[in-house]
């Protein structure tokens, strides 16, 4: 059986393409790094797409703003319309938001704005808890609502916001916010640093209404191995990591599946069923 081909779309300045490709490979998919210099039409041959993190076009004008206008996005917009899966991680999420692929169909309805943090400004990096919400998003719908995924964030412009009052809360209610920032005990984050950027409604990821396009600010590809989960994290993932590190549990290894791999597994499951 041939493996589904996934394009890892690399704009100049993107720097997470290798680990994104590795995560796809680990769940049985066939990734190919697709650089911006190739003819856009060649993108049509793929079954799914990942836009990794980094700093496309040096974040000129706004993060994701220039890549969003390019010819590759024409093809990705077509692919999204035809229900092919598209995952934008961090800078990839910024591109999708600036292109209007999320949450709607081409109209820009949100921004990923500069972080708003008490006592700090600028770029911020830490591990957070992302709570799985009830959603038909193909990347997360196999996960139990309420489950916590410890994931790293690393960005300066990651605050989901809209000038339309209540927009993010409405998206969450409609199942278009499949991941929200939470506390270690699973409550929706109310303040910094659990909500690390001031995102409205503590939204960490937004998908389109059909659930095939997801813009996520945390980096699941950086949490694809159990051993990546840091000591600051509590809960079942930490317990598994501790077991692996202590070699207390036979058969558990630090290179085992980490919490971030779940999103790529969701993609693989969807492509297998499609």
């Amino acid at each position: 059986m041939t493996r589904a081909r996934v394009a890892v779309v690399q704009f100049p300045g993107v720097n997470c393409e290798s680990e994104s490709a590795l995560a796809l490979e680990r769940v049985g998919l066939e990734p190919e790094i697709f650089r911006w210099t190739r003819p856009a039409a060649e993108l049509r041959a793929f079954h799914a797409y990942v836009l990794p993190g980094g700093f496309s076009y040096q974040d000129r004008v706004r993060a994701g703003a220039l890549a969003a206008k390019g010819p590759l996005l024409d093809v990705l917009a077509e692919a999204a319309e035809s229900m092919k899966p598209v995952l934008g991680i961090c800078n990839g999420a910024q591109v999708l938001i600036e292109a209007g692929l999320v949450p709607g169909r081409g109209r820009v309805e949100l921004a990923l704005a500069r972080n708003r943090m008490s006592g700090r400004e600028g770029y911020y990096s830490r591990w957070i808890y992302a709570r799985v919400e009830k959603s038909s998003c193909i990347f997360t719908r196999h996960l139990e609502p309420g489950a916590l995924l410890p994931l790293p964030i690393a960005h300066g412009e990651g605050r989901f916001t809209s000038r339309t009052s209540g927009k993010l809360a409405a998206l969450a209610k409609a199942g278009q916010a499949p991941l929200r920032y939470a506390t270690a005990s699973g409550e929706i984050a109310r303040s910094f640093p659990d909500n690390p950027n001031g995102a409205q409604a503590s939204v960490a990821a937004v998908c389109n209404a059909e659930g095939n396009v997801l813009a996520i600010m945390p980096h699941p590809e950086r949490a694809q191995q159990l051993g990546s989960v840091p000591r600051s994290i509590a809960g079942p993932w930490a317990a598994r990591r501790n077991s692996a590190q202590a070699a207390a549990a036979p058969g558990v290894d630090v290179t085992d599946e980490g919490p971030g791999l779940a999103l790529f597994a969701g993609l693989a499951r969807h492509l297998a069923e499609a």
Partner: protein, 184 residues
Amino acid sequence: MAGGSGGRAQVWVELRADDPEAISAFAVARATLEAARGLSTLRRMRLLELSGPLPALAELEELLHRSTRFYHPQKERCVVRLAGGDAPPLAHGERAVLVTERGGERRPAAERWWLHETGERIEVHEGVAWLLGFDAEADADSAIADLVMLRDRRHGLLCNPHSQDSSVADREIPLPWMGAAVGR
């Protein structure tokens, strides 16, 4: 210690070298946006506005020069306006658009530096001024509206209205500009 127009100064900061951000914005706009057909030049400047008890021009310029909280004199040059009559650094026919981060215009680190150096409390706000030049036959007013405000992949670039505000100046550049007649 007051020196500016009612204790206000407007500082226009531009890279001495070609500005990659403006070059990229220009190239992308020309390649993808219908409204950019008549766009002939695009420049970008950081715009700082200081308000409070400011010193006279020479001392003000010296303070700005001393800290990279304001600008980097090896890489950038700056022009200071203290009154509405002072000329902004616009070329003939250029139109100016101010874009600011909604709720994120203040520069606390610059304010702290100023307090430390002078003992005076001032407010520092920052935005980006885009300077647009058009071909003679272009309808600049309608082109600007369509170039600035992001609506979709084919309309707008310089301001995402969900997190930013923009203000298009008429022939005269207001002083202060930030917080004055900001459109959403």
